[in-house]
Symmetry: C2
């Protein structure tokens, strides 16, 4: 039963990698497995630890390379909080984030709430510090 579920999970992950143009190597499947186990925000370091804990051995360089690759292939999103905090978000759907500068928590903003920033929709017990919006653009190919 568990095995059945695990096999299904592996198949899904392999599919997902393929469909995003990522060659599903062993390490990439391990990393994806941990990363997509649930929607979550992780740092490269946290993910490295989580992979270790799962009993598999993947080097830290591979974790960094793979997260970069996944982000480039739009499997996941990179979120730059500050110079020492880069999160990876396995939830690929259109949404934004609250970041609590006191606690370091990164919290999802449901997309439909986005127009209501100025209303009373901040997380309980928090006040807005600053809203930073960066739109990354790229040069149009000619």
């Amino acid at each position: 039963m568990e095995d059945q579920h695990q096999i299904q999970q592996n198949r899904n992950i392999t599919e997902m990698l393929y469909s995003h143009g990522v060659n599903p190597t062993k390490q990439r499947r391990i990393i994806a497995d941990v990363l997509f186990a649930r929607n979550q925000h992780v740092t490269a370091d946290q993910l490295f630890d989580a992979v270790q804990q799962s009993g598999c051995r993947v080097s830290k360089a591979t974790v960094y390379n793979t997260l970069g690759l996944f982000a480039r292939k739009k499997l996941i999103r990179e979120i730059f909080i500050d110079a020492t905090r880069t999160f990876y978000d396995s939830n690929n759907s259109h949404h934004h984030h609250f970041y609590n500068v006191d606690t370091g928590d990164l919290i999802d903003i449901k997309e439909h709430l986005a127009p209501h920033f100025l209303g009373p929709n901040l997380p309980d017990g928090t006040a807005m510090e600053i809203l930073d919006l960066v739109i990354r653009v790229k040069n149009k190919s000619p």
Copy 2:
């Protein structure tokens, strides 16, 4: 005439520092002078170079400390592009940014354009890569 303007500029900067609760020391005035000479986006490193070029000597540590202080005191804004790119924006008014991933340019978005992101308002010759919105909140003081 130039001197007169410079004196006025210095007075303005001293005022500005005071009014934001920053003790206007020599180095801080030098840094503010270069930083506010025009609205601009600079990295700590670029600012350090610019200060050098202006003929004044301020250590790099002081540049970092001072930029951090100014940001904390809301004289300027910190913009985190990625793990190795932190910009400081001397334009304190309410606005956002385009970042060109190909060129590394940081370009202002006029606030009133913000609701029209999806329209044809991107910088010429560019296409949207990703829109990242992070709202930084802090715990309400009890």
